[in-house]
Symmetry: C2
Subunit: 151 residues, 2 copies
């Protein structure tokens, strides 16, 4: 479904989401119209789900971030659904994955400072019903924060 030329396009647009169609067409080696149509198709089929500006966390005033390991007390749909719905609502939670291993979920949370993180735990996380355990791993350093799939 996604062929080689499409992967080239995706690779480039992951690196520069605002590349003009002309630049793009040249670097992937096709005409501007063919390239434009492919990009459009990738957007409409949902392979490209969107475009985003990447903002430097620290510079933008978000000094604190952490990875949370969360396990649920019980795994009824009721509790799971409520947990998922809660997590989707909170914008501090940038990522949430259901995983194998000791924890049921891995979350990455970004906030302005430790105080805000404390509030996040007290006012939000600890109030979600059915949570057995939450372990906080504070992020000391971001080695890498990428969004580009390794085509």
């Amino acid at each position: 479904m996604v062929e080689e030329q499409d992967e080239k396009i995706l690779g480039e647009l992951q690196k520069d989401g605002r590349a003009t169609n002309q630049q793009l067409a040249e670097t992937v080696g096709m005409s501007t119209s063919a390239c434009w149509r492919r990009v459009r198709a990738l957007e409409e089929s949902g392979v490209i789900s969107g475009y985003a500006a990447l903002v430097a966390r620290e510079q933008a005033g978000f000094a604190t971030s952490a990875i949370l390991h969360v396990s649920l007390e019980r795994h009824d749909v009721k509790f799971v659904d409520e947990f998922v719905a809660s997590v989707l609502k909170r914008r501090e939670v940038l990522e949430c994955f259901a995983t194998t291993g000791d924890a049921d979920y891995h979350l990455r949370v970004v906030v302005r400072d430790m105080d805000a993180y404390n509030r996040f735990l007290d006012d939000f996380m600890f109030r979600i019903p059915g949570i057995r355990h939450v372990r906080t791993n504070v992020i000391l350093k971001e080695i890498k924060t990428g969004v580009a799939l390794p085509f």
Copy 2:
């Protein structure tokens, strides 16, 4: 340094990195020229570090992903630097964070299938010197993968 109007702009560009300057100017309520200049300043100061197309992982053919907990044997600069340099090289590693807690590092790795993940471990991860322990948590479900800071 980043003021309220800038945060509005950043918020919008995080949601739609390809919004035209005119749309943007209208939604944040300023003239196109003022808006354009602010965006430019945010780019040049590095607050906006770039733009990216967001690609749907599964649709693009990356079926498997995992979160790795990695601890190092020793924490000499020598080993740490080599680990960091190695990780930065591998495009399968989308994210890497140095954290508090049992593990020294949290990594998120994305590959096409389990086979590729196996190769990633054998050919790469297990060959990095100074690694004490690697625990794999396979991602069963992506609840949320966001890039937008919660302004």
